[in-house]
Structures are given as structure tokens and as C-alpha cells.
Amino acid sequence: MSEMFDAGRWKPGPLLPRRDPRDGSLVFVVAVLCFLACLTALGALAANRAAHGWTSQLTGSATVVVRAQGAESPDAAAGRAAETLAGVKGVSEARALEKEKAEALLEPWLGHEALLDDLPIPRLVAVDLDPKVPARAATLDQALKAAGIDATVDDHSLWIADIERGAGIARWSALSVFLLIASAAGAVIAFATRAAMAAHRETIEVLHLSGAQASFVVRLFQARFAQAAALAGLFGAAGAAIIGALARLAGGGQGLTPVLPVAWIDLLAVVPTPLLAALVAAVAARLAARGLIGELA
């Protein structure tokens, strides 16, 4: 084989080994952390969507309890109230619920047998508010009073503060967990890169003592580790995207659970992961190479 060597056809070999057994553990660690970071990103997006859904459902509607007065029938009073409210600015739609629907709402408390015809069951009017400029409860109340209707307006304000607080906690918790995992991923990528770089100290020393400029050595390692981290980021992101897609497929628009609804568009959040992992690894490799060269110089 040695007789076959043809200097005329020789091409320079790679200055860093093409495959290094130590790269495997680096890729594995980075891939796992990227996977976790992507999963928490998807979780944070789902939590944000769920929180938004809870508050928008409550703020976008009101319920009016109408009590008939005098000779007016409950149905007539409810119809009149719906008609009155439909004309109020900030109301998209108001509709009187049929007696059966009102009874159905009371059934869990009173039972089917107790719902006798002579019970004064109040009629309900469901009001959909304009999402841009929703009418306030006081405005609805004033309009009903002006029309001489005895009614109570429930704009869910009793619940909404708690729900909004809960939604806020859910949002911030998800975001915090994501930031924590993403920071940990960044730190571990940097640490693993530095550890892998230390293993290449001898190569750096040889290049340095052979007259290589610092920028030459730095570029070499930067490219190498960025490439490894990008590959690992790709594996991690792909894994998380598959889990996200399965959750979406298994549970439709609401994901596996209505608490964490996943949308297809959420999967795009994992796309920058390989780039970010590569960036962190490149910066870490750059700093580590500069540090090692600084020690040698």
C-alpha cells in the first residue's frame, strides 16, 4: 500500500479528526437538552393559548337573569330584555334562552323531579359582547332598567379576576420553566463544548507552535463544534416536534388535554433550535480556544 502513495495526487487531510468518540457524548447531551427545551417551549405556547382561551371566553360574554313583573310572562320579559340588550353599543348578540335550557342549567341542583311548572324559574339571556369594545355590566344594567325590566347582569367579573390571575400564573410558570431549561441547555452546551475542547488541547498546541494564528485555530474549532451542536439540536428539535405532533393528532385542536391545547403552528417554535445550539457551541468553542491559546502564549 505504501508503494502506492502518489504525492501528486495527495490532498490535505482534515486538521481535526473526522470522527471523535468524544463527540458522541456531546451530541447526546446537547440533543437531550434541546429536546427538553423544545418540549417546554411547546408547553409554554400551549399554556399561553389555554390561558388566553379561558379569559376570552369569560370576557366576551355576560349572562342576564330576567324576572318577570306583573302580568308579563317570563318568556316575554326575557324576549324584551334580549331585544333591549341587542341594541346596546358593545353587544354583538343577545338571545333569550328557552325555558328548557334554563331548567337544564338548574337541574344539577334541583333535580328533574323538583322542576315543577309552577316554580318561578328565572329566564336567562345570553349576551355576546363585542370583543373589541365590550359593553360594561353597568351599561347593560342601565339599559335594562330604562326598559323597566327587573334583571341582574352577571358579566363574570366575580370569576374573571381569579381566572386571569390563574392564567397569568400558568403563562409565567410555563415561560419561566422554558427559560430555565433553555438557560440550562445553553450552559450545558457551553460546558460540554469546553470539556470537549480541553481534550483537543494537544492539537491546539501543535497548531499554535507550528505558527497558526489564533483566528485560524478558533475558526477550526468553532466550525467543528457548531456543526456537532447543530446536528444535536436538530435531533432534539425533531424529537420534540414529533411529540407535539402526536399530541395534536391525538387530541385535535385541544391537544391531549384542553388544559394544554397544541396548534400545528406551535411546532414552528422548535425550528430555530439547531441554529441556537450551534451559536452557543460556536461561542463556547471560540472562548475555550482563545483561553487555551492564551494559556499557551
Binding site: M1, A7, W10, G211, A214, F216, A297
Partner: protein
């Protein structure tokens, strides 16, 4: 072989010494000095052996010359420039003018013998077609013609040593430093290596060889720098030769 002078910031001929130590001391960290008050100068194109017992400071002195360590005191002038005043960005260009044969070889195990020898030329920005025949010729000269493909871990100690020598001289350096370059080779190869150094020296390369091989030093007839306990005890005279 080709020189890398194009890349060097200072390539003009020197009127004075190519290397000068003036009151140089050196220590590792806070330990005691391994070199003390070392004073000498090497003229361009000179050939010297650096001798002394183990721990005398030979390797440390070489490290100072190839800019791997810094003196704790005194002044070192290399190519007419105070090494402490050389900007970090210029130091790689100076290193390219110094060929070093390391005691522990410092070969890149994943590169073939051919690639290892071509490394300094590659780092200096040379094009493969400009130097590959020189590299092949040099490898043949050091007796590694049949091992050009071989990776360093598959080479014997002597082969590694010859490979390290080929890498050190391939760029026709202005100064060649060698730390025990004949330590792992037989007498025949030691003489062959010495002849290569002499030939390079005739072409203008300043040579400084640290060696324990008293016979080789004596046979060469070249002047000696003798270190003992970090101090330079003798300079210039080849005692064995003159006394013989």
C-alpha cells in the same frame, strides 16, 4: 524545501545575532528559577549543541526560544526583536521561522505521516501543489518513503522521531531547535539526522540541538552551550573535541 519568509514580518538579513539572551531568568509559576542569569548570543548561520544533565534547564531554554514560555526576567532578542515587545498577532509569523523537534514529538495522531510533515506549510498558507513533492522528498530522505500513509500511532519511536524532524525542517526555518532529536534512533540514523542538520546549517539555518548524546556532540565538532542547574557554564568550546 521552501522558506516561509513571505509570511514573516521581519525577513531582512540581520547584522547582529539572530538570538540573544541577556540576563535571562525563568521560573514556572512560583517555583524556584529553572534558568538563572543566562547570557549568550547566536550568530545567524551558527550551529551549537546545548548540553547539560537532566533538569539543567535545556528544554526550558528551548521553550523560551520557540516562544512557548516567557522569561521571568532579562531580555531575549529573536531576529533582532525583543520578544516581550512582539505583538501577539505577530508571534505566529515568528514561530513559522523556527523549526522545532520536540522531545515528545507532538505529532497529530489522526493525520498521516505526509500530512504531519506538510502541516507547517499548510498553516503558512502554502498551496499543496507547491510543496507536496518537497514533502515526499523529505520523507524519503529521513527513511519514511514507505510510511507516508502511516498514522503516527503505527510508527516506531525512531520513525516518529524522524517524522518530527522532517516536520521541523520542511519549511527551511531560520532557526532549528531540536530537543534530544537522536534519543530514539540508532547510531546510523543519528548520524544521518546530524548530516541533515549540518546540511540545513550550510544552507543558512541556525541550529541549536539539545542532546545527551555525548558521542554525537563530540563527533560533530560543533560548539557547545553547557547548562548546569539553570546556569550557562560554558559557551562556544566543544571540550571533548578540543581535548581529543
Amino acid at each position: 524545501m521552501s522558506r516561509n519568509r513571505d509570511a514573516a514580518p521581519t525577513g531582512e538579513p540581520l547584522a547582529g545575532p539572530i538570538l540573544r539572551f541577556d540576563g535571562v531568568g525563568m521560573r514556572y509559576g512560583r517555583a524556584a528559577e529553572v534558568l538563572r542569569d543566562v547570557n549568550f548570543a547566536l550568530a545567524p548561520g551558527s550551529f551549537h549543541f546545548l548540553t547539560g544533565p537532566s533538569g539543567a534547564g535545556k528544554s526550558s531554554l528551548l521553550k523560551l526560544i520557540y516562544l512557548a514560555e516567557r522569561p521571568s526576567r532579562g531580555t531575549i532578542e529573536l531576529f533582532g526583536r525583543d520578544v516581550e515587545a512582539i505583538a501577539p498577532a505577530d508571534r505566529p509569523f515568528l514561530r513559522r521561522r523556527i523549526g522545532v523537534v520536540f522531545q515528545e514529538f507532538k505529532l497529530l495522531d489522526h493525520l498521516s505521516a505526509f500530512d504531519n510533515v506538510a502541516l507547517p506549510l499548510r498553516i503558512a498558507g502554502g498551496k499543496p501543489e507547491a510543496y507536496r513533492h518537497d514533502v515526499a522528498e523529505l520523507l524519503a530522505w529521513v527513511g519514511l518513503k514507505a510510511r507516508m500513509h502511516a498514522l503516527p500511532p503505527t510508527l516506531s519511536g525512531g520513525e516518529k522521531q524522524r517524522l518530527a524532524i522532517a516536520r521541523a525542517v520542511v519549511g527551511r526555518p531560520d532557526i532549528l531547535l531540536a530537543d534530544e532529536p537522536t534519543g530514539n534512533v540508532d547510531d546510523a540514523h543519528a548520524l544521518r539526522i546530524l548530516k541533515l542538520f549540518v546540511e540545513l546549517n550550510r544552507l543558512g539555518t541556525t541550529v541549536l540541538i539539545a542532546s545527551h548524546d555525548e558521542d554525537l556532540v563530540a563527533r560533530s565538532g560543533q560548539p557547545v552551550l553547557h547548562l548546569d542547574k539553570g546556569r550557562l557554564r560554558a559557551f562556544g568550546r566543544n571540550v571533548r573535541t578540543e581535548g581529543a
